[in-house]
């Protein structure tokens, strides 16, 4: 059964199309992350799912029920906001029980639900405090408590970690992921941070300019991006995209970049032979020559290219090199010392090459 179905959803603000025909089908228990740059329409989509904004056209179905005309409070959803949105004049306890108070839930039942959530999130000592007396992480926890206490069909998260500092963000990321694993709730989570999307999601919807570019599991999104936008948006540093040509050498299709020849993915259609393509290759698929990719069975393949610059990060070193006139990035082991200006040899993981159509920018192999 689907927790959430969105059918052909449009949203127009005056003359601007904010959402252009969104279709999504989210299974029960899925952790779906809507990710995209700011202005891509992901927050608008979330607000429409919540019922805080109305769509221009299209249907929203939550747990098998069309909710287009149903107000937010009756959609059986809960939402966690970027700014936490805790009621400043209420204590933590009142913040969490306010929703039940509005629904006239009997007091003893409220107390039981409050106790359960407070224990789950370990916020029992904070119940009598006001939001102003809490740290950022504690506020975030209370905001989640307010959502969890209602036990809704669908949880909506609107960039909940953006206001936290880097360290706390990583901690809360893990906590939310564990929480999802424990309670198995259906979650729609909006973020602009592709790392959050990769680490937490069971499904990712990459959005750009009011359209869903790709909706798939994190592995597919990362390794088989549907188009150049997804390839360049996901991953830090992003996928290298290099203008190339597809040619036949000894009866096999080969990607030619300058003087470098790489075996084309076997799935490439023969009509692309002799045509320009865009080669996509992740920086971590270009490494020091001794690197064994996968379990060691991957075919070994090396390229030689001039090094322009190195950026040691400690855990690894990012190398800027030039391949066929395009600057690309590689990630080598931190103990490898490369001399800028001199050519060097790199191992390439040929299994992970992607090819894109330069015109439509879609993945072709």
């Amino acid at each position: 059964m689907s927790a959430l179905v969105i059918r052909d959803l449009h949203k127009r603000f005056g003359a601007t199309d904010v959402l252009k025909g969104i279709n999504l089908d989210i299974d029960n228990g899925d952790f779906t992350v809507l990710v995209g740059p700011s202005g891509c329409g992901k927050s608008t989509l979330l607000n429409i799912i919540a019922g805080l904004e109305t769509a221009t056209a299209g249907d929203i179905e939550i747990d098998g029920r069309v909710v287009n005309a149903i107000p937010p409070k009756d959609r059986d959803i809960a939402m966690v906001f970027q700014t936490y949105a805790l009621y400043p004049s209420m204590t933590v306890r009142q913040n969490i029980t306010f929703g039940m108070e509005c629904r006239n839930v009997p007091k003893p039942q409220q107390a039981t639900a409050l106790e359960r959530v407070a224990k789950l999130l370990q916020i029992e000592p904070l119940l009598a405090r006001k939001p102003a007396q809490l740290s950022g992480g504690q506020r975030q926890r209370v905001a989640m408590g307010r959502a969890l206490v209602r036990d809704p069909k669908l949880f909506l998260f609107d960039e909940p970690l953006s206001n936290l500092d880097a360290k706390l963000r990583v901690e809360m990321r893990m906590e939310i992921k564990q929480l999802h694993a424990r309670i198995g709730a259906s979650i729609v989570y909006v973020t602009h941070d592709q790392i959050e999307a990769m680490t937490m999601a069971t499904r990712i919807a990459v959005m750009h300019q009011g359209e869903i570019q790709q909706f798939a599991d994190p592995d597919t999104i990362y390794n088989r991006p549907a188009n150049l936008f997804v390839a360049r948006f996901m991953g830090a540093p992003p996928m290298n995209t290099i203008p190339a040509r597809l040619e036949a050498h000894a009866g096999r299709p080969v990607v030619v970049v300058g003087d470098t020849h790489l075996p084309a993915p076997p799935s490439i259609a023969p009509e692309w032979l002799g045509k320009p393509v865009i080669l996509g290759i992740r920086p971590e698929c270009i490494a020091e020559p001794t690197r064994q990719f996968g379990d060691g069975t991957a075919p070994s393949l090396t390229i030689t290219a001039p090094v322009e610059m190195t950026e040691p990060t400690g855990a690894e070193t990012i190398v800027v090199l030039r391949l066929g006139g395009t600057k690309i990035l590689a990630r080598v082991a931190p103990d490898i010392r490369l001399v800028p200006g001199a050519p060097a040899t790199f191992a390439v993981d040929a299994r992970k090459l992607c090819l894109f159509d330069p015109q439509t920018e879609r993945l072709i192999a």
Binding site: Q82, T83, A85, Y87, S89
Partner: protein
């Protein structure tokens, strides 16, 4: 160094001079309120009391004659209170609800309504005299305190709506969204979430409305006569009723008494007023 202290001294000298000039009228009224009428007439309007005439205050309060009624300004003070208190509370409360609706429940045409409401701030009083005369006649509230309450409530709405709207606009949109998802409606959000955040701006509007309505003169003197007048209008009748010896002492005492409520409001609420005006976003 010497230049700095010299210019500082000059600065203080100018400041004291200006403060002195500004306070002269108050000083004259205060001093005259404690002098007998004979003393003022025989010497000058400006002077230190030879004998402290505290009886001026009891006379002004309880038995001085104003327009054939010899009960001092006490009944008129009561009139003013009966107009000012309800009108202040009503206009503040309605303004808070209106400001809340305009700022946090956006609807089509809300900016136009807001513009129309705030236009009232800029309309001169005199322009509204005739319309109010017609309204008071039609609803049958001519020469009543209730009529004045209605006028001040309606007119005060322009200010109170403006103040509250500008304050509430800083309430984060997410707070409203969270409350709507939690299942709270228009009034529950107002009294459970918005109102508890409002004391700074409510203090400002209450002080503003109280002083404005208490000191208001034109409507009081135009729409009420005799025993229905607020104290500002009665003060004029008091000075006009004196036929023989000018009773400057008692008149001054009456002025001081009439000014006392707003003075007290300022003394006790002034710092909240300044704080409320500068209080910004609700965090």
């Amino acid at each position: 160094m010497r230049d700095a202290s010299l210019s500082r001294a000059l600065l203080y000298a100018v400041a004291f001079l200006l403060a002195f000039l500004y306070l002269i009228p108050l000083a004259v009224v205060l001093l005259n309120s404690l002098r007998t009428a004979e003393e003022i007439v025989q010497t000058s309007m400006i002077g230190w009391p030879r004998v402290w005439a505290f009886q001026n205050y009891t006379a002004a309060w309880a038995d001085f004659c104003i327009a054939q009624t010899c009960s001092g300004i006490r009944p008129y003070m009561l009139n003013s209170a009966l107009v000012t208190l309800p009108a202040t509370l009503l206009s503040t409360l309605l303004g808070a609800v209106a400001g809340y609706a305009i700022s946090l429940w956006r609807f089509k045409g809300d900016t136009w309504i807001f513009a129309l409401v705030t236009l009232g701030v800029f309309l001169p009083e005199q322009m509204r005299l005739i319309p109010w005369t017609i309204v008071l006649r039609d609803v049958g509230l001519t020469n009543t305190l209730a009529g004045l309450v209605m006028i001040h409530t309606v007119q005060g709405l322009s200010f109170t709506t403006l103040f509250c709207r500008n304050y509430y606009i800083a309430i984060p949109a997410d707070l409203m969204k969270a409350a709507k998802i939690d299942g709270a409606g228009f009034f529950r959000i107002f009294y459970r979430i918005v109102l508890p955040l409002s004391p700074p701006i409510l203090i400002v509007t209450v002080i503003w409305q109280f002083t404005g309505i208490w000191n208001e003169f034109l409507y009081g003197v135009t729409f009420t006569t005799g025993t229905q007048q607020p104290v500002t209008a009665a003060l004029i009748a008091l000075s006009a009723s004196v036929a023989d010896v000018p009773q400057h002492g008692v008149q001054s005492a009456a002025v001081v008494i009439a000014a006392l409520p707003t003075l007290l409001v300022y003394l006790f609420g002034g710092r909240y007023f300044v704080r409320g005006l500068t209080a910004g976003a609700v965090k």
